[in-house]
């Protein structure tokens, strides 16, 4: 499967706190634009992959875009863990002959939609029944619990979380698409920001965004005839570690060894590209600590060394491993991590707002807090 398929088209709608258009309308708009980017007609699409949280199904997409007879359609669960997994499904389907032109997308009105914890009661079922009654209500609370332990165990401080927030904000400040393009962030602002769930403050949290993104996947052979330079899917993997729970991953033997570790083991098993070969990465950043956890999981440093790795501007342009070069979920847009996929492709095309010199590979990850996925792109 290695390099058998490639991303040949990417697109997104504008990002905003509030967009007028519906999620369906945004999805159709993004997919159509991604096909235009690739130079492929909608009628050629015969494969679909999406998040289980997606509100617009394949039937709706197909009937709007005049898609022909589709032969592959599937979904991946766990919200922010799903993005690379969706692209991976298409790569597998294409490599095994189940379809020829696949699209993956995510459309979400999280900015203008209701906050689940401020409106109707969230469901208190399954694992939530062991956390929510005590007031551990929101994703930020769930990740803050792991973060406090992490800071304690490795001797890190809020400065390390700020390293992530500031690095990613600088990326956004150079990306005109980013919601935070015009909003610089200083360490002083970070340190004086209001708490959301201690030890996490406002700037440790991703944005609330309306928007949609899509990408187009075809075989390596077909990719050579497309409008854009292909971003080959060198390796793709998923990970759901033994005895892990989504978000509230407190009941496995070692909660600080998150899903990234299992996903990375599978990813590199299939890859000629090693962590030391990767010069730029798009790491899922719904919350700043997830980046530190993922740096460890994906092998850029050892267990407990993610915080120290972030020092000295390592995550910024010119640093050891620039991350989230579009501004990521923290500062460009939070659309369950799909913008990380498109930005990975842009790095290989050389069209990023923060181009990394010599970037011929890029790691793109899903969220460390949930059963997750990741992919390695190469030019």
């Amino acid at each position: 499967m290695k390099d058998a398929a490639a991303i040949v088209g990417i697109a997104e709608t504008p990002f905003a706190r509030t967009l007028e258009a519906s999620e369906k309308s945004l999805a159709v708009q993004a997919i159509l634009a991604a096909l235009d980017d690739a130079g492929i007609e909608p009628a050629e699409v015969d494969g679909f992959a999406s998040y289980t949280l997606e509100s617009t199904d394949e039937v709706e997409i197909a009937k709007n875009l005049g898609v022909g007879d589709a032969t592959f359609f599937a979904q991946v669960g766990y919200g922010g863990g799903a993005g690379p997994g969706c692209v991976g499904l298409l790569a597998m389907a294409i490599a095994t002959g189940r379809c020829r032109v696949g699209v993956a997308w995510r459309s979400r009105k999280r900015g203008s939609g209701g906050r689940p914890w401020a409106g109707a009661a969230p469901q208190v079922t399954a694992s939530a029944s062991w956390t929510r009654p005590w007031g551990l209500l929101r994703p930020v609370d769930e990740i803050a619990m792991l973060t406090r332990r992490y800071l304690y165990e490795v001797g890190a401080t809020r400065d390390h979380l700020a390293n992530v927030a500031l690095a990613v904000r600088k990326m956004a400040n150079r990306n005109p698409r980013a919601l935070m393009h015009d909003e610089p962030l200083t360490r002083e602002q970070y340190m004086s920001a209001r708490w959301i769930s201690e030890p996490l403050c406002l700037y440790d949290n991703c944005l609330e965004t309306d928007g949609a993104l899509a990408c187009v996947v075809v075989s390596a052979e077909r990719a050579r005839d497309c409008r854009q330079a292909p971003a080959y899917l060198h390796a793709v993997a998923q990970g759901l570690p033994r005895q892990s729970h989504a978000m509230v991953n407190y009941w496995c033997d070692d909660p600080l060894r998150g899903p990234s570790w299992v996903c990375a083991e599978q990813l590199y098993r299939d890859s000629d590209i090693r962590p030391e070969d990767i010069r730029v990465a798009q790491i899922y950043d719904a919350f700043t600590p997830l980046v530190l956890f993922s740096l460890e999981g994906y092998g850029f440093c050892g267990r407990g060394e993610g915080a120290a790795f972030s020092e000295g501007g390592a995550l910024e342009v010119g640093g050891r491993l620039p991350i989230n070069t579009s501004g990521g979920g923290l500062s460009e847009a939070y659309v369950h991590g799909f913008n990380l996929i498109n930005e990975g492709v842009r790095q290989l095309r050389g069209t990023s707002s923060n181009p990394v010199a010599g970037a011929d590979t890029c790691l793109v990850t899903g969220g460390d807090g949930v059963p997750t996925s990741a992919l390695i792109l190469r030019s």
């Binding site: 109707a120 208190v124 406090r148 304690y152």
Partner: protein
């Protein structure tokens, strides 16, 4: 909009936990073959899937493994009590088993009463059971 606390619905897997809590007892499942504690409750032991777990009483003692201090925006019931702590307690019988709870200052203390600066990872705690709603007594924790 909900104005009360979020309470767990009883089901076949968790009912023995909540029935025990109502009697002021902390009970969890154990693997009937290995004796290892199992949490959250489930149908089968993951270490011996052909067997069903058995329920057993615990000491109700542990140490704080981690904690957060929660601030708004929150559901109204919780916003009124914020900022409040939520702790994760590693149990004395097996530190790999961790229960979510709150640190309270006394047997009937409220969740927002404990000064966050006074909470420490590693602190020894013991369980108390506080009535929340008509049918539930929530396990919470005081310093031991």
């Amino acid at each position: 909009m909900t104005n009360g606390p979020l309470l767990p619905p009883f089901d076949e897997e968790n009912a023995p936990f909540w029935e025990a809590a109502r009697r002021g007892e902390l009970r969890l499942q154990r693997c009937s073959e290995t004796g290892r504690l199992i949490f959250p409750p489930r149908q089968r032991s993951p270490w011996a899937p052909h067997t069903q777990p058995v329920w057993s009483a615990l000491s109700g003692r542990g140490t704080i493994w981690s904690f957060v201090v929660v601030h708004p925006p929150l559901l109204p019931y919780y916003a009124e009590r914020s900022p409040y702590n939520v702790i994760l307690v590693a149990l004395e019988e097996d530190v790999r088993v961790r229960l979510i709870g709150n640190l309270v200052a006394s047997e009937a203390g409220d969740i927002g009463e404990v000064e966050p600066d006074g909470i420490e990872i590693g602190a020894r705690v013991r369980v108390v059971f506080q009535p929340v709603g008509a049918e539930i007594r929530l396990p919470r924790w005081i310093l031991a």
